[in-house]
Amino acid sequence: MATRAQSTRWGEAMVRHVVATTSEIAPGGNKVVTVAGREIVVFHVNGEFFALRNRCPHEGAPLAKAACVAHLKSDEPGRFQRSRVGEMLRCAWHGWEFDMRTGQSFCDPLRVRARAYAVAVEAGETLAKGPYVAETFPVTVEERYVLIDI
């Protein structure tokens, strides 16, 4: 299901796509979808959904195979803080870490970023009112859906 949403800040029209029901992606799991020719991976973690291009910007590994880890920080040897459990991606090949929320890389934060997409969750009832038109993904009023903007 896709619809034309408001213009973005770059002035381009974005299209909102329904890509999954909230119940089909288990917590800690993910689903790979192809939208507008792009392979995108949608993660479900701590009750939230995040969407990223399914390609590590370093050497191209599929991010769907990354480990979902915590942010581990240490100010001095022997002390550490662990936070944001499950929200960090550790790439399946070289272990590059990315923030699921923004795509920011922890290896080279200023220059390398995994492409992240805005995600929304909507009730089927809202979607059924339109102006949305189901194209490839059936929508029923009973479910809740994950939408991404591209």
Binding site: G60, P62, A92, W93, R111, R113, R115
Partner: protein
Amino acid sequence: MADVLERADAQGAAAVTAQDKLKVIDCDIHPSLHARADLYPFLAKRWQHHLETYGGHLRTPFTSTTPYPRSSPLLARRDAWPPSGGPPGSNLAFMRQQHLDPINIEFGMLQVLDLLVVSQQNQEFGSALQRAINDWQLECWSRPEPRLKPSILVSQDHVEAAVAEIERCAATGNYVQVNISPRANEPLGRRRYWPLYAAAQAANLPLGIHVGGYGGHAPTGGGWPSYYNEEHHSNAHSMAAQLTSLIIEGVPERFPRLKFVFIEGGFGWVPAISWRMDKHWQRFRDEVPHVRRPPSETVRERFWFTTQPIEEPEHAGDLRAVIEWIGVDRLLFSSDYPHWDYDDAHSAFKIPLTDAERRKIFNGNARAVYALG
């Protein structure tokens, strides 16, 4: 930010288009045993029993794991576990689907690490294992998939058995190199290993030196590191030590037709060590009169280096300077499939390469070194 990404994507796309047309020779692919019993058709009952009862004995503090925990299970890419089961690298069909076909591999050089044949301390057992592994590579990998080329893996500290194995395998005409470890009981230039070099030269096979192995020494000159992060650098240190050992002991001069391929040790360190060897050679030539030429000339004529793990300088353009210092002719592309530090043929090189350079690094250099048709 967005601009940078878009530009990088565009360059990547151009590289992919050029790369797609190019057949790749991958100088480092690791096949794995699905189970130890895979070796039994090639291993005498006496040694099957030994393997089951005693297992391997390496000169490390541990027998069933590595002294340093690796960053991922079995060192592997997390997406390389075959869906049908078994460890990464153990399923030929999956290797074709995930690596050989999409990367357009024309030839792949097999490097076996299972059971660390090169480091087995029971030398009779090591000799039996080397024979079994060499037969297994040929029968279970190269025959069903002729793109994959087996290497003659030898347990080098039992020199006599290793020479016999080189002669046995070379006579079949199927093997592309002789493989030894840079972590033996002594530095590789020492005379005890020279019979191996004589046998490799007589068979017209390059000597492939792949990182890894346990010779009983600390992996760095400074002692035992604390972390994998720290220990991983020792791959490069070991290679640099072996490059100097081979050259300063006069091995290239003594075996003038032998080619040396350094595998998985990186290459960023090569220019610095070459400069330093030249400098010392100029000053202390009378200590080693058998070294008749500047070491850097020998490096440029007789040694080749595989590219993985690719160097990743802060400014990608610096990689270009390193490659030019070493020489485009000396580099052989390698992926290290299925290990975690795998290099992807399409994206590993973050610098533009001309078509001619790409053809050399990804195909032509290896074709010449390994005399592939």
